[in-house]
Symmetry: C2
Subunit: 246 residues, 2 copies
Amino acid sequence: MNTQQVTGPEWRPIATVDVVLMTIREERLEVLILRRAAGPFAGEWALPGGYLRPEEDMSVEAAAERVLREKAGLPPQHLEQLQVFSGPDRDPRGWSISCALLALVPCASIEGAIAEGCRLQPVDDLLQGPGLAFDHDLILGEAIRRLRGKGGYSTLPAALVGDEFTLSELRGAYEVVLGIGIDKAVFRKRMLDLGVLEETGRTTRIVPNSRPAMTYRLRDGVRTFDRQVGSASSPVRPEGKVRYQP
Amino acid sequence: MNTQQVTGPEWRPIATVDVVLMTIREERLEVLILRRAAGPFAGEWALPGGYLRPEEDMSVEAAAERVLREKAGLPPQHLEQLQVFSGPDRDPRGWSISCALLALVPCASIEGAIAEGCRLQPVDDLLQGPGLAFDHDLILGEAIRRLRGKGGYSTLPAALVGDEFTLSELRGAYEVVLGIGIDKAVFRKRMLDLGVLEETGRTTRIVPNSRPAMTYRLRDGVRTFDRQVGSASSPVRPEGKVRYQP
DNA sequence: GGAATAGTGTCTATTAGACACTATATG
DNA sequence: CATATAGTGTCTAATAGACACTATTCC
């Protein structure tokens, strides 16, 4: 316990950020974790995080971006606050408040830039495994819930593909996030009718021996829809699978 | 500035909670505000809030409930985290982190219990007015955005009516939150088909000289739907207005 | 019966979903 | 030509929305 813990306005809690960086690799949702070098839970796997620094960080978002720069060498495609986790017992060093943030990136932008001691782990494996340090399993669970929930009625999954993408790639991201198959014609009509995309004018071929596809970019930032994309009743179609590293 | 602000792990920011307590009164959305007695912005209107207290508060949610007990004498019907506001400049006392929370209550449960120096103010008036202390206008704006956004596809507005309510009362809450008129037949079918309500078996009459209505309660906590309730194209129907204090 | 609100039935325009079909590239 | 994916057209079942209609209470 920490001797700084006295009651009154001069008392202050430990303040940190924890970042859930998610990406799609090989058609699976993966999370960046690292083996803690020091401090509590040294040697165990945990989410990247750290203390707030008054001189460097202008906000919790800035602190999260600093952490990600150190661990994955990148600014994320999308970063949003997830939830505050707080209390006297979640950190053995004392009463703490941690702002958890969800970061999304296309896989291609971090592979190779991942720092020593870090790795990408499929979320499904992680939910079974021996568990993360602190209350990070709880934080991870909340991140997955948020992504799955918000992913169905927003352009959030677009942050998991590159700036420029084909409709098949985008659909693949939605399918991985939502865990369902989505009919390509329905998806195409929905996305284009929503007006959240714009053509780049360029085409790409996803695989050889096939027709090239138009590429698109997001017209704006993340937007929300008033209806869910796809449905749980859609069968998972074989064509639904799309390669992200052709 | 505070001399505690030195770089390094022993440094800690000011940590507070700010609560946006919303309710519906006279068919308008209202917010609890108070005139600051001391400290920065003394004499100005602000959202209720306060320091985290290590001995009393087990979490930010508990701190928010304590603040609400002091100012409005109640545990809220619904309490959820909104967003963290943080940075070196938002509080003149130094680098601060504030967890903003959204609290919803039926109006009847707080009228009379509101503490000295506090008042309920319609949100629309507040958005025009001279503005709140700190960055509380920003926090209020985020609270309204959250309520309007989430209100359309969840049972969140139910927290603004009593535990037991008629479908007309509930529909009225949705109409106030969303700012649209909702057809009563459509609303009835949607809500009952969703299976989020259960009959209490008791009936109430909203006004004299009319047929009594069945009352319902929420089957669970807040649930989300995959489709928006109502639509912007619905005309505001005269019958849509419902009295909350008959 | 009159007034007021609760609750139901019906029609229609829209659309999600399913799926067949055409188009365009490579080899 | 075959192959593989992009992109389009069509049909259907489901339903949101509009609105008329019936039901139940108090006066």
